[in-house]
């Protein structure tokens, strides 16, 4: 029952906020998301130790053989934790701004959380697709109602681009779903793996492409990324946090959950190209980030680079690669949400995100600068931060896959340092510009967001075994299909 609860609770609370528009929206939303976090943690621990059932199955469309099945295993457990963990911070980050008590805004965030939870919990491929597309709506409304200038055009491009991709996913899914042996076709992941394994290599490679285009656009991957920087910059910072912190993980989760076990033959002949593509994406994103003036756009390109590495690691089909990608999803989520919040705090006070116009903030607010440094060290993958564990495993898997690609992918840690330190230098150090001259220190609520995130960064770096052991059995199960 817990499973159903963590899916329906944010949905009901969100829709209540949207419809009834209560006065104290902030308190409700934050309280709700914290309850959601507690329940998810209870669920994750107990499901792991077997005290709670890990599955909830009921009939959805019997004629089409589709079941409303939710489940928790090592892989999606991490992402449920990530979603449940980040949303309280995202809602918390609205404290102090006029959006705090805007019931519609909080409602949209919670419905978005429900859609994301649905996608991660789904055990039935079409249920996953259902939430995969349904989650586009709340984010579309968040960007359109609360974004900055020419948001309609950009959010529309984002919407059509992602939806166009997911249509290919729909076709691929139907194709495999109809091939299930036995009379009633079923889209349960296990049966899908079963049917996919029996398909011919040509079919597998075509299906691999269809599936991959959908997730590549969502991640985004190198050639399909043009929507990302504009959307991240135009969206309100909570929207960007949702997009970069959790939503892009749906793309990577999809690859692990569907492409890796279902189309090993497809990966065999296309995988190499895709890894090269993602490594190009890594360099491409980092190099562009070096010259960016707008902090949000810079972070957008940096997260685009991280995703490239994640997808490369995953497609090497090695144990470290998948585990590394899973851990990197968790740590990247934490780091990027923290960094976007800091950009929000700076923008709230100086009304500008342009690096040339900022400077000298460290003298005004110590907690902000320390938080900013710790989080960016996390994203630059310094040892003893959560970023390092993920990046180390990913680089190792790509390195074992092929020496040259590994070295080229390794350049990311240098370029990462270049643009991150340039961002810190231009915004924090040097003397205060006319924008950041009277930069007042952080309020309590802002500190309450930054400090826990920094603690998570350090804890994630020192004790990764907790998460890695949690996801190990599920990944072993998965690699059984790869053979």
């Amino acid at each position: 029952m817990y499973l159903l609860f963590i899916l329906l609770f944010p949905l009901l609370l969100g829709s209540f906020l949207l419809i009834a528009k209560p006065a104290k929206a902030f308190g409700l939303a934050l309280g709700g998301s914290i309850i959601e976090l507690i329940i998810s943690c209870i669920l994750l621990c107990d499901a792991n130790t077997g005290k709670l059932p890990t599955e909830f199955i009921s009939n959805w469309i019997p004629e089409a053989g589709l079941k409303f099945a939710l489940f928790v295993d090592g892989i999606n457990g991490i992402l449920i934790l990530l979603t449940a963990l980040l949303v309280p911070f995202i809602i918390g980050s609205t404290a102090g701004s006029e959006k705090a008590n805007d019931a519609k805004y909080q409602g949209l965030i919670l419905t978005m959380q429900a859609a994301l939870m649905g996608a991660f919990l789904a055990k039935d491929a079409f249920l996953f697709y259902f939430f995969f597309e349904a989650s586009l709506l709340p984010i579309y409304f968040i960007i359109n109602l609360y974004g900055s200038e020419n948001r309609t055009k950009i959010s529309f491009k984002f919407f059509v681009y992602t939806l166009f991709g997911s249509l290919f996913l729909l076709i691929g899914l139907i194709y495999v779903y109809l091939r299930t042996p036995g009379n009633t076709p079923s889209a349960d992941f296990e049966t899908l793996y079963q049917t996919a394994s029996v398909l011919s290599t040509k079919e597998q490679s075509l299906l691999f492409l269809a599936f991959f285009i959908a997730f590549a656009i969502k991640m985004p991957m190198f050639p399909f990324h043009t929507w990302q920087p504009d959307t991240y910059t135009v969206a309100p910072s909570q929207g960007t946090m949702l997009l970069s912190g959790i939503m892009l993980k749906m793309g990577t989760y999809g690859v692990i959950r569907m492409i890796v076990p279902m189309f090993p033959a497809g990966i065999a002949n296309w995988g190499n190209w895709v890894i090269i593509l993602s490594v190009i994406g890594v360099l491409y994103g980092s190099i562009i980030a070096i010259q960016q003036k707008d902090m949000k756009r810079l972070l957008a390109y940096s997260s685009f680079a991280h995703v490239g590495l994640m997808s490369a690691g995953m497609l090497t089909l090695s144990n470290e690669g998948i585990q590394g990608a899973l851990y990197q999803m968790l740590s990247h989520g934490i780091n990027i949400v923290g960094l976007f919040f800091i950009v929000e705090v700076i923008e709230r006070r100086t009304q500008s995100r342009d690096l040339d116009q900022l400077g000298g903030i460290t003298s005004a607010s110590k907690v902000l600068s320390i938080g900013f440094i710790i989080l960016s060290l996390g994203s630059v993958a310094l040892p003893l931060t959560n970023g390092f564990v993920g990046e180390f495993l990913l680089l190792k898997s790509v390195f074992d896959y092929q020496l040259t690609i590994g070295i080229i992918a390794g350049i990311t840690i240098i370029l990462g340092a270049v643009y991150t330190l340039r961002m810190i230098q231009k915004s924090m150090f040097g003397n205060a510009s006319k924008f950041s001259i009277n930069f007042e220190d952080l309020t309590i609520s802002e500190k309450l967001v930054i400090i826990p995130l920094c603690i998570l960064v350090v804890l994630g770096g020192i004790f990764p075994t907790v998460v890695l052991n949690y996801s190990q059995p599920a990944v072993d199960l998965l690699s059984k299909w790869i053979k």
């Binding site: 491009k157 059509v160 681009y161 050639p223 990324h225 043009t226 929507w227 920087p229 491409y284 190099i287 562009i288 980030a289 070096i290 010259q291 960016q292 144990n319 470290e320 585990q323 590394g324 000298g360 460290t362 110590k366 060290l377 310094l382 040892p383 003893l384 564990v389 180390f392 495993l393 680089l395 190792k396 390195f399 074992d400 590994g406 070295i407 390794g410 350049i411 840690i413 240098i414 340092a417 270049v418 330190l421 340039r422 230098q425 924090m428 150090f429 040097g430 003397n431 020192i462 004790f463 990764p464 075994t465 890695l468 052991n469 190990q472 072993d476």
Partner: protein, 626 residues
């Protein structure tokens, strides 16, 4: 057992206390809290050193990353080499902490400074005590971070920030090489802990050891500022002087040498890499010494001298004289820290003036600094019986047997070293005062907290030589015996050097003659180095550091910036975005055309309908008609 864990824990606690309560703690309290951890760590290390019974102790801390069959623990290893390094780090560290409690007393970031220093000591200890390459790598990048934080400590000026970024990025380039080395290790041996790796190498398996050694050495080049990646060290002088003393003279820069000595088994198995190490060391030594000749900033001179001394250490390693080069690491830590602290006290006295052309005649006002700086200069020049002589000449002796060409060039290098050291010494302390009046009446000897470390270090620089007195002088070569168990056997055969031979006399001459020449040139003739404007010809080239910085800028920084602009504007915007936008536009324009098809005229509609019906009928009945 638990005392080993305490050694790195204490500086960490010091960092946390100082860091969290930075603005609230008063300076003295912060100073004390900052200095206690290294002192306590020094005491613990000393106790460990004395009780050490010869066999290595492994203390596992936690099982850090375990994925499938890959498992990376964090554990500490106490053996001969790490104990010595512990002593150096904590010993010199404590002295520098004491020194900086006075040096930084008027700086408003006092507490923050001590917090960063403690963090640095923590990471350095982690680096040295690590039982595997990954733990070493954690310390490796950690000290890189601390050097970034400390170089850019005075963050008001952007140029300091740029210097800090340059240091961090250059280290990161080296770290990439090191990381690739670690990955290769995992590929070869499936583990990265020293013991297992070295047993496997001794047992003879493991194929491309040369490549692994080369990659690890790239890391060392980045960290210990060797030829391609050395330009960050002179710029690192932007940080406060104690930082330069601790990080960029005594401890961090020697991490590269420590790593090579630690992995001597690996390097022994790949002679061509050792050869490469030797030549890189030689080239760096010569380059550093040459540039140091004409530098006018006191700290820049010392920085380039550090670069060249590191070159010497790597030359020693190249000739697989591990003990000699480690001996030089120790003595260098003493006299270079001394010189830096001396320079610091000079700068402190001259109210932050660093250009030696504006100093002179400080002998009378700063007596203790004068004497200690003199002892340091003599030690570094390699004049017997000071520590520098024994350590450098042992390297030279090994070089003599290893490769005569390298030995000759090394002699030239040490000649340059003694010249520029005495040049700096004479110009700063002798001759008449060239500073402003304001500086003149503020001239005062540094307080006891600064001069005490100077004295201690001076003593160490003088008597440092006894640690490894060579046999032919009657010494018991304590260091050689101490390190013998962990070094490859056969690396410690006693060198019989008879006094009359060229091998002994040449280094002496290289030490004395340039010193006398410098004293005579700058002392008696009172020649003052020319102002920037009139430097010309070769001197200008050398003064401008052979334009290496500009070359790097042109070769690497500019292309990447151009590429970034090109990617962003051309590929991202024009090609990919346009592709996506154009599909949208194509749909719109085609829809505009199709819209016109609806002409509104009914005749046209019926005509279209009939035409379509005609075509369809023709198609269905084609079998019948044709």
């Amino acid at each position: 057992m638990s005392s080993i864990l305490f050694i790195p824990l204490l500086p960490l606690i010091g960092f946390l206390i100082n860091g969290l309560s930075f603005p609230k703690l008063s300076n003295p309290v912060a100073g004390i809290i900052g200095t206690i951890p290294p002192l306590a760590a020094f005491a613990l290390s000393l106790q460990l050193f004395l009780q050490f019974d010869g066999n290595t102790q492994i203390v596992p801390l936690l099982d850090w990353i375990s994925v499938g069959e890959l498992s990376i623990p964090i554990a500490f290893q106490i053996d001969q080499l790490s104990l010595l390094m512990l002593l150096i780090i904590t010993g010199v560290g404590t002295l520098i902490h004491v020194y900086s409690s006075a040096y930084m007393s008027h700086d408003e970031g006092f507490g923050k400074f001590f917090a960063f220093l403690n963090l640095f000591v923590f990471f350095m200890l982690l680096l040295v005590m690590g039982s595997g390459f990954v733990t070493l790598f954690i310390g490796w990048e950690g000290v890189g971070l601390c050097s970034y934080l400390l170089i850019g400590f005075w963050n008001k000026k952007n140029s300091y920030g740029d210097a800090a970024r340059k240091a961090f990025i250059m280290n990161r380039i080296g770290d990439l090489g090191f990381l690739i080395g670690i990955f290769l290790l995992f590929q070869e041996f499936g583990t990265a802990t020293y013991q297992e790796v070295f047993e496997a190498i001794k047992a003879g398996n493991g194929s491309n050891l040369g490549l692994i050694a080369f990659c690890l050495f790239i890391g060392a080049m980045g960290k210990s500022a060797q030829i391609p990646l050395f330009t960050w060290l002179p710029d690192a002088m932007a940080g406060p002087t104690p930082v330069s003393a601790l990080i960029h003279a005594a401890t961090m820069v020697t991490a590269g040498i420590y790593m090579v000595i630690r992995a001597n088994v690996l390097f022994e198995m790949s002679p061509e890499v050792l050869h490469f190490v030797g030549w890189i060391g030689l080239a760096t030594a010569l380059l550093g010494a040459a540039i140091g000749l004409f530098q006018n900033d006191i700290k820049k001179v010392l920085a380039y001298s550090t670069v060249s001394q590191l070159g010497y250490m790597f030359m020693g390693l190249g000739a697989s004289a591990y003990t000699a080069s480690f001996f030089h690491v120790m003595t260098h830590a003493f006299f270079k820290a001394l010189l830096f602290l001396g320079a610091g006290s000079v700068i402190h006295a001259m109210s932050d003036e660093q250009d030696i052309r504006k100093m002179g005649g400080l002998k009378s006002q700063l007596p203790i600094t004068y004497i200690t700086f003199l002892l340091g200069t003599i030690a570094i020049a390699g004049i017997p019986p000071f520590a520098g002589f024994f350590s450098k000449d042992e390297i030279l002796a090994h070089l003599y047997h290893h490769d005569i060409v390298m030995w000759a060039l090394a002699i030239v290098g040490s000649a340059l070293t003694s010249f520029y050291m005495f040049r700096v010494f004479i110009v700063t302390f002798h001759g008449d005062f060239r500073g402003t009046q304001h500086q003149a009446d503020h001239l005062h000897e540094s307080p006891i907290a600064m001069t005490l470390p100077l004295i201690v270090l001076a003593v160490l620089s003088v008597i440092g030589g006894i640690i490894n007195l060579p046999a032919f002088v009657g010494g018991n070569e304590f260091l050689a015996h101490w390190l013998n168990p962990i070094l490859p056997e056969g690396s410690h055969e006693a060198l019989e050097v008879h006094f009359a031979s060229l091998e002994f006399l040449a280094p002496l001459a290289a030490a004395f003659i340039p010193a006398i020449f410098a004293i005579q040139l700058y002392g008696s003739k009172k020649a003052v180095p020319a102002a920037d404007a009139e430097i010309s010809g070769i001197q200008k080239i050398i003064y401008d550091k052979f334009y290496i910085d500009e070359a790097y800028n042109f070769l690497f920084v500019k292309p990447i910036q151009f590429l970034s602009q090109f990617f962003y504007s051309f590929i991202d915007f024009l090609i990919i975005d346009l592709l996506v936008e154009s599909t949208g536009k194509f749909v719109k324009s085609s829809s505009n055309e199709l819209r016109k098809l609806q002409s509104g005229n009914i005749g046209f509609y019926i005509f279209m309908m009939v035409a379509a019906i005609a075509i369809i009928l023709a198609w269905t009945l084609k079998s019948w008609i044709f």
